[in-house]
Amino acid sequence: MTDSSSSRVTYEATIERIFQHNVDTRSFFLRLRSDQHLTWKAGQFLSLLLPIAGGILIRPYSIASSPEEGNLLEICLNLVPDGPGSQYLFARTVGETLRFTGPWGTFVFDQPPQAECVFIADGTGIAPIRPMIRRAVAGESGPPLQLLYSAVQESGLLYRQEWEAYAQVCPWFSFTPLLSSPVSGWSGLQGSLVEYVERRYVSGDGDRSRHFYICGVGQQVTQLRDLLRHAGYQRRAVQYEKW
């Protein structure tokens, strides 16, 4: 064992509640063992140690709750058909115990930058961004904050009521949902997230002072990174996490 391995702490938590967001997305609320305490930053993830096939499978899950919420941690994930980690978790029930290490990750949001902030999430990529936005809107009013949230259909816009409520009470926060394949009746934005970002933040104006926090699954995240950086946004002003 290396020094870093031997010094890491393994945590235990009980599944206190399971919330079904839609047909294949669930949140698991994990109550940390009472003698353990976890301190983390908005945006970090837990590394779950899943006993699968006679071994331990390590799978990362972003923390969707806020650091201020104490020892009740929320993770939010999709059921992936060929994903042993999500299949294991979707077979769990309330009262069962999970083990994990953490917190991990450098995609974090400590203090809002003194510039317009754009959060871009796709599907369950909202998980690490949720505590970031909660932190950002908890402060006094400042530069504009935007959430651009993409999903396939409306049911994939997780925590939607929360975003709409923030937009009501925080004049500096705006919520823009975008669907890639809406069913009939959707009157909001639809189409490609990358194309929308190009229209709004690249060809839309010459302002290159914005800061971006991007999270999603797959190549779309790095496409957005490349689009924004090549358009002239500062490298370190385009933060992202690709799962």
Binding site: S5, L38, W104, T222
Partner: protein, 118 residues
């Protein structure tokens, strides 16, 4: 056959693995044929909190020999290394650095990671 030699900044004994790069992947985490893949596939632990998905820096290694035999860094890897403690000009993420040739690569596992905020 390729050879991967692992040194530890903590001073624990080095380990040597001989392997055929064409047989990769050796397990399921990290890029096939990566330093992480080779290590885990031969029973040697290397921290990889994100599951080898290039989303953290816990598999940071410092290449002491054989940089030319490794795949090139991606921008994502460079962005993460930017935040790694103890960054050096020959730092790589074990989950991304694929050993391409039948030659010797020597890496050092650094002592600490700052990812864990406890």
């Amino acid at each position: 056959m390729a050879k991967l030699r692992i040194l530890y900044e903590t001073g624990e004994p080095e380990k040597i693995i001989e392997f055929d790069p064409a047989q990769a992947p050796f397990q399921h985490d990290g890029q096939p044929g990566s330093i992480l893949d080779v290590l885990l596939g031969h029973g040697i632990e290397l921290e990889h909190a994100c599951g080898g998905n290039c989303a953290c820096t816990t598999c940071h290694v410092i290449v002491k020999k054989g940089m030319a035999h490794l795949s090139e860094n991606s921008e994502t890897e460079d962005d993460l290394l930017d935040k790694a403690p103890g960054l050096t000009p020959t730092s790589r993420l074990g989950c991304q650095a694929v050993i391409n040739d039948d030659d010797e690569v020597v890496v050092m596992v650094p002592r600490y990671t700052i990812n864990q905020q406890v």
